[in-house]
Amino acid sequence: MKFKSLLASAAMALGLASGAMAEDKTKVGFVYVGPVGDGGWTYEHNKGRLAVEEHFGDKVETVFVESVPEGPDAERVMTQMALEGADLIFTTSFGYMDPTINVAQKFPDVKFEHATGYKTADNVSVYSARFYEGRAVQGHIAGKMTESNIIGYIGSYPIPEVIRGINSAYIHAKKVNPDVEFKIIWAYTWFDPAKEADAASVLIEQGADVILQHTDSTAPQAAAQEAGNVITFGQASDMSEYAPMPRVSSIIDNWAPYYIARTQAVMDGSWATANTWDGIGPGMVEIGEISDAVPADIKEEALAMTAALADGSYHPFTGPLKKQDGSDWLADGETADDGTLAGMNFYVEGLEGEIPQ
């Protein structure tokens, strides 16, 4: 306990000192799990950081540390940022959850924002994006456009986030094309572009003419381009360099509005613990431009669905829906609650195969 109070007092002393010195410059820290050059998850978070700098100019100072392993290293980096006078710290990986809570306890005056987790505290908020809304749009386009009726899906690990995406895409593909079949490959790695390329080729060889990916590299795009008549969707970033074919649309992570809003809240003193799960509406999830390779009528439907998702009039998980084992999940017109969605660990009816456990 002695150590904690020592840390806290040091932080306070420094807080006062830097506050006086830096003339109320708000200091915002970012902890990244990958390198900013990963072209995917961390790259997009870093774009959010740059947007904060651009928006506030001289009024903010941002710092970041990249490729921080989850666990004690993350805890040390967060502590270091807090010691050096950060007012707000974004921790951008699920595995940072417990370290964030630990450090937040030691620095009650520093605000923390943890991405994709579920533990909050007086000075810890959590935020995440409803990527599955974008998956619904993809599923719709995929179901309409597939000719082989086989859609390939590359997942990283079987975690709720990925399973949610598969279910959402499948429901909407099935709705417009009852014959559609999903082939799912789990890469069992977060990052291995060569393996993603192999997985995409395998899916294409087994007849898939649509590839959906929940991995961040452009390898599947290139494989699809080589194959010719296969369509894909950009993931994390727009991947517009592969438009109009094979990339027909994309899901883009856009953290900038949220990061700017939360930084503003710290400046105003209005920051409060929040549990944010935003989708297309607030702009955290963006649907990249639908290319001309998509027939006009399908494009129109996709845009209409995007609009309905944005204004909240449509929920991707609306009953009647059954689970894979045939048991009832959602009654007619009922929508899924966030708790079930957050921890989703089952397939919906019609998907084949088992979720690896």
Binding site: M1, V63, G71, R76, V77, Q80, D98, A342, P356
Partner: protein, 360 residues
């Protein structure tokens, strides 16, 4: 013409001086690198080396050096024994993972029983897990003559898949809302490898690492087995005449290094890290190989090398956040440090002199 002349004996003076020369050279070349990247070189290097030890927040960073350095030293000590005997275990990363899985698994099996025996059982399970994983290449080498480098390396990848599998299945936190990763052992008192003195960074893993250093020193200098290890590495044929049983030596060296790596993983998962997760391992097993060689396979050298590596990690993180240096620049800087440490070692064993032409 400049030639190298082998010293009859390694120079004592140079063996102490070369690390300092190497660090200085790294500062010069690292400074040039940082200048190219548009940073103030003196500030950058000062941040990396000075800040963690004597900076404003050194009270926090100094204990962190122990946390970061302990697993490196513990693993490297085990590896160094094998390396000395010419037994190449490069799969410590996998043994580290298995130690963590076994250790955490044993602890979680008792959850939520709060009993004194939980932690000791976890320690044994962790050591067993690492030992088991290292015994596979040992057994295959003894029985079939299979190369242990390849087998131990391949088993790293197998262990990584196992780690992902248990994080998503067997050891997944039942109260974790379906997210991957185990319960946090930090909040299970009986299984928590807590700091022995709050704020000191000292946990059981640090203590074990220090014991391992002393143990290895005594083994190598005072014990017959240590003599056999050294003899096998330096003069294999003489070792045969001295009655060394190679099979036993292989089983011992690989098994012990595996057990130590397993312990390191177990202490990490039950203490600083807390959870078994897909990304639990962060490369200690590979970095420890570098540490072992930087320490010249000598127990005390390894202790110092582990500390130096930990320093550059922690200093590097500070430099990233304070000065905006990319992580890659820190990696290059670490690479340089290793290069120079290895290169200047030359002066310990060789004399450089200008030779007359007829000699050349």
């Amino acid at each position: 013409m400049i030639v190298l002349e082998k010293r009859p004996q390694p120079s004592k003076a140079w063996s102490y001086a070369t690390p300092l020369v190497a660090v200085l050279a790294t500062m010069v070349f690292g400074g040039i690198l940082f200048t190219i990247l548009g940073k103030n070189p003196i500030e950058a290097i000062g941040t990396i080396f000075w800040e963690p030890l004597f900076g404003e927040f050194a009270f926090y960073y100094r204990p962190q050096l122990l946390v970061k350095g302990a697993p490196l030293v513990l693993i490297a000590i085990g590896l160094s024994l094998g390396f000395r005997a010419g037994i190449w275990n490069i799969g410590a990363e996998g043994q580290y993972i298995m130690g963590a899985i076994f250790g955490a698994g044993a602890g979680l099996a008792f959850y939520p029983i709060d009993a004194f025996y939980v932690f000791p059982i976890m320690v044994l399970a962790g050591a067993f897990g690492g030992w088991l994983w290292a015994s596979i290449p040992a057994f295959l080498k003894v029985r079939f003559g299979t190369n242990e480098i390849l087998v131990s390396l391949m088993l790293v990848y197998v262990a990584e898949q196992m780690l992902a599998s248990v994080s998503l299945g067997l050891l997944k936190n039942p109260e974790g809302f379906g997210f991957p990763g185990s319960r946090n052992l930090q909040s299970y008192d009986a299984a928590h490898n807590a700091e022995l003195i709050s704020g000191s960074g000292m946990h059981w893993g640090v203590v074990t690492a220090l014991i391992a250093v002393i143990f290895a020193y005594v083994l190598l200098n005072r014990h017959m087995l240590g003599f056999h290890i050294r003899l096998t590495g330096e003069a294999p044929r003489a070792a045969k005449f001295a009655g060394v049983n190679p099979a036993r030596l292989i089983l011992f060296c690989l098994g012990l290094s595996g057990a130590l790596a397993g312990l390191a993983g177990m202490f990490e998962v039950s203490g600083p890290s807390g959870v078994v997760s897909i990304d639990f391992n962060v490369g200690y097993g590979f970095t420890a190989i570098i540490v072992a060689f930087l320490g010249r396979l000598h127990p005390v050298g390894i202790l110092l090398a582990g500390g130096l590596m930990a320093l550059t990690y922690i200093g590097g993180e500070i430099a990233q956040s304070q000065l905006g240096l990319p992580a890659a620049a820190i990696q290059v800087f670490q690479g340089m440090l290793l290069f120079f440490l290895l290169a200047f070692d030359l002066l310990t064993n060789y004399r450089i002199r200008a030779a007359r032409s007829e000699v050349a």
